[in-house]
Symmetry: C2
Subunit: 160 residues, 2 copies
DNA sequence: CGCACATTGTTGACGTGGACAACAAATTTC
DNA sequence: GAAATTTGTTGTCCACGTCAACAATGTGCG
């Protein structure tokens, strides 16, 4: 096939053996936004996870706690829809967080099917700590991406 | 805790029951780049996967085929490093693609440990088809993000 | 040369996440 | 009041990242 998007002039033919570290081309991946978004997302998550490892909070758990904190008493369906995850997946996320006593599933007053989600005191404390650590994580992103690029990315992606 | 980044003026306290569809706040997620990058990546992948479902090629498989095509004869270690995935994971990806006769692992002439990766004719055909389908996928991204935003994102993320 | 060390590909195991299907209880619709 | 829908839940399957271990091969150095 041979794409035409090869930037270096080296012919692929001539390099079967050992010629030291060669520069490897991305080929048509260079025109695939998803590839770069994926790479960025992976290293953002890696940094996030390592920084919050001390309090054992994953990105998904952080998003759950943050949205409950901002919308006290919302239901699991609402939360799942907001975060774009499956209800089934959320059930297990909540189960672990409830086991750790970070939140409670209260019976909804008006609808017997629903649970009204609330953070516990401990949940608020952990979230406060998570906020501090993830603020530092954002600082790191600013450092690596540059303030301007960071700002533009956040702005562009927020209103998609 | 209560974050100060609440845009609507509604107090969280007053909404325990059923008041119709309420607007749910993201709270501190609004200042987390990773959250939005993740959301974007998820829906990019969903669109990609559904469009390439007809030829049963995942994003990961596509990236493997594309890089081999652009760097005939490279080794598994080089490929894994380029794509940022584990050698162990790559082994299984290659195994399936080789089973489907899309590529071959030839013995490297100079180094008995290495495999020289090459696409088969069939592999090139499938990749050509994948390119067409994923080009349409990129068109869809342009449509949804807007041409300007798409262009800026691709440019910004490429040189991170 | 000979031996320690590094690299390459491979396998196994574990945990996480997304996707579906099925279900019971509760609620809404007509 | 019966049918349809919503909500939370469980189970299952598969993709993926991660880590440890290993055999085969290659490299470096005394």
């Amino acid at each position: 096939m041979r794409t035409s998007t090869r930037s270096s002039g080296a012919t692929a033919r001539a390099r079967g053996g050992r010629y030291g570290a060669r520069a490897i081309e991305l080929g048509m991946l260079n025109r695939r936004l998803g590839y770069f978004v994926r790479r960025l997302q992976v290293w953002i998550f890696q940094d996030f996870i390592s920084r919050l490892a001390a309090i054992d909070i994953s990105p998904a758990q952080f998003s759950v706690l943050a949205v409950i904190d901002a919308n006290e008493g919302l239901s699991q369906s609402e939360l799942a829809a907001t975060l774009g995850i499956e209800r089934a997946r959320l059930v297990r996320l909540l189960h672990r967080l409830e086991q750790r006593a970070l939140l409670r599933r209260l019976p909804s007053s008006a609808d017997g099917r629903r649970h009204a989600l609330r953070l516990t005191r401990e949940g608020e404390r952990v979230l406060a700590r998570a906020k501090v650590l993830s603020d530092r994580h954002e600082d790191e992103l600013v450092r690596r991406l540059g303030a301007e690029r960071y700002r533009m990315l956040l702005e562009m992606l927020r209103d998609v």
